[in-house]
Subunit: 483 residues, 2 copies
Amino acid sequence: MAFNKRIKIKALLEDDHLGQSVTVMGWVRTKRSNKNVSFIAINDGSTIKNFQVVADPNQISEDILKKASTGACLKVQGQIVASQGSGQSSELVAQNIEILGEADPDTYPLQPKKHSLEFLREIAHLRIRTNTFGAVFRVRHALAFAVHKYFNDKGFFYIHTPIITASDAEGAGETFKVTTLDLKNPPKTEDGKIDFKADFFERETNLTVSGQLEGELAAMGLGEIYTFGPTFRAENSNTARHLAEFWMIEPEMAFYDAEDNQNLAEEFLKYVISYALENCKDDLDFLDKRAAEEEVSKPADQRNELGLLDRLKFVAENEFQRLTYTEAIEILKNSNQNKKKKFQYLVEKWGVDLQSEHERYLVEKHFKKPVILTDYPKEIKAFYMRQNEDGKTVAAMDILFPGIGEIVGGSQREERLELLVNRMKEMHIPTEEMWWYLDTRRFGATPHAGFGLGFERLVQFVTGMGNIRDVIAFPRTPGHAEF
Amino acid sequence: MAFNKRIKIKALLEDDHLGQSVTVMGWVRTKRSNKNVSFIAINDGSTIKNFQVVADPNQISEDILKKASTGACLKVQGQIVASQGSGQSSELVAQNIEILGEADPDTYPLQPKKHSLEFLREIAHLRIRTNTFGAVFRVRHALAFAVHKYFNDKGFFYIHTPIITASDAEGAGETFKVTTLDLKNPPKTEDGKIDFKADFFERETNLTVSGQLEGELAAMGLGEIYTFGPTFRAENSNTARHLAEFWMIEPEMAFYDAEDNQNLAEEFLKYVISYALENCKDDLDFLDKRAAEEEVSKPADQRNELGLLDRLKFVAENEFQRLTYTEAIEILKNSNQNKKKKFQYLVEKWGVDLQSEHERYLVEKHFKKPVILTDYPKEIKAFYMRQNEDGKTVAAMDILFPGIGEIVGGSQREERLELLVNRMKEMHIPTEEMWWYLDTRRFGATPHAGFGLGFERLVQFVTGMGNIRDVIAFPRTPGHAEF
């Protein structure tokens, strides 16, 4: 017999249900009682808003009302009436309340008071039940859906690139090994090396750092594709910006050059942010207030000039600033920050990699808007980026966002076989192992481009959460693989 | 300067472009030439259909026409005119052809002839350029998008559950180890064991076999959630039905019982299949013909009674047959197959696990439609399934599809703490390590349910591909991790 005969609170709030008999199920957020009446605010996860249940102690037993404490799960049958109080236009007068599951106030960790984000990270299995994390994960969902909708509507095809891979030629970072060998007693070859022929895949394998190379293969058949999957870095980075496991979106497009790539990335970012603004109003209003409260505790010079919602609208509505690395170096060299030696890393000559402080200066102080930096020195970029005619730079782009820094990295890819092979040799990347990648340049090559977006960085930007561990349900970082 | 000033072939075919000057880019599929004219069929991946380019040797140089061989990539500028021939209503008269990338006929492996699927698997980086695999991956994309759209429209939230996990308590299968330890010389503890405290996560970790348990945590806050991510099995199964790395969809819903779960799964499957029928007409027409040709080579008793499209329509339009395991055992025991000992595993008594041959008998011979089998013996199902009042069975469901067998497995979850803990102890599952999972039963528990769908099995069913390695771009199986 079907149990799920309920109306979601989101639906209750969207339309007029006055006078209707309904069943609502959800978890108690707060309860206020006096001897005449109990007001129970319940939440079912469909929206950040609670719905108020009014319980008359003559109708609902004392035992039930006692058990309806914070965190308990209730099934409430009753009638929707106009609300007496302020804040909400209607409320539910309970005819019957069933306790689906109790939450002992002495042991339930999420009592109605302010908890630190650090504490909530330790109970990540329960933090999803709070206002903040409910909002974050609903926004995360909306952004993920917007990603799929954007690309689907444009005729891109979603490709699932491999997670386990034998290709580590990219040099994008330290990798996790994947094996079924007995670690205590691995089989060895005659010369004492690990015998990977005996491993599951009969070779050394690791977790992918990027789906780009496989994405390129697919784009050479399907035209325009994107990936959206987990990627991994085994770097011992204990920062608020790094995860060992995170989700990446990587579109790859045949027939795109560097400018087409920039146009796509800008349009895409504006689309997904606008989508969140349109579809997550209640959650973003809450997160906007939350961010404003957080600001107060920051040193004055680190505060955002704009509030969260204003930042999102600003990005959605304004053109990104496009300039070359070479132009950016000139701006940085001549900046007061540099002249007064306020940068930790002074910008002295063309060719240096930009630090986070430089990126933030360009975005937050100089241009005061998102920046697309292009045409970096080839020495500081990956082998597959297309070489420009100057012989010094490649057709790379990084997109820099306020507060986040680099949110997108991409490039036109080097489609010319000879130039690509030469660059790989210069960078000591084994061309034999990459025969399949080079085949895309041997057969039916075409100008093509793509970029990668770290999904958690995007969720951070849109939700205003300061620590990347607070925008993924169960974060993986050095020493942490709980839940 | 933006390069991507082209019109996609899909768009060219959808509307009337007669008389327009356009640029088309794509790869040559076939070329027919005589001394007066060349007909070049090009494909850009946007659709399975090629577009015919007509090239006059007085206009296009001999060298260019020679290089426009199968697999070469072209940029063609010209005018759309009414087609002289049959098959297509319009064609492109070339004013200019640029060879973006050649494909030497002596070395390009994909010449226009029939290639075996086995051969194409060895060149998986190129097979995406064939009609069959183009169709498969476009349908795969459409199905993935339909999954997201279905759940989004119903108010479910997409959760990214962890890929790397320390929890292996589920017993769903053999796992891959994930480590950064030096395999040749791993650190050891005083008693000679591997010192996992020195590993990246300071504990033993592996690749997830399912996101279900974490999905349940999220459902207890957000109400209705789903996962769609990679899962892994380190089983040495070299069959046409098994992958070491595959994608799973796992919805988990608070306030759902077993029947709600069945209703959702049936509605969901019908939705995504209908979506493919509506949105992938050309690709499915092609795959339908392809499947019909394959049928001819099968032994008569293994042939499908219905063609691919008819199977899809049948599933989308008919109610699934629901029955209990106990009822199924009676049917199987009394079947002619069983009496005549034609089953490899004879069905003799209640309690045995069903084999693939039994599932297929029920679906393909007895009911001739998808079957939802429910209420299995608890001994053959996982610890988290809700125990029925008979003390013998659990509120499990498996959905069986023709040709595929089990496509969905799910259950109402055991929400009663004491019963769950007892079952875990009976099955030797460590309850201490699972404190976080048990917390969902300690605090605000509610009836809830969920299921898992192997995405590749769904893609197989919809595309009619016989081998699961042919519905994922770069399959991972024992001994295989290429590309």
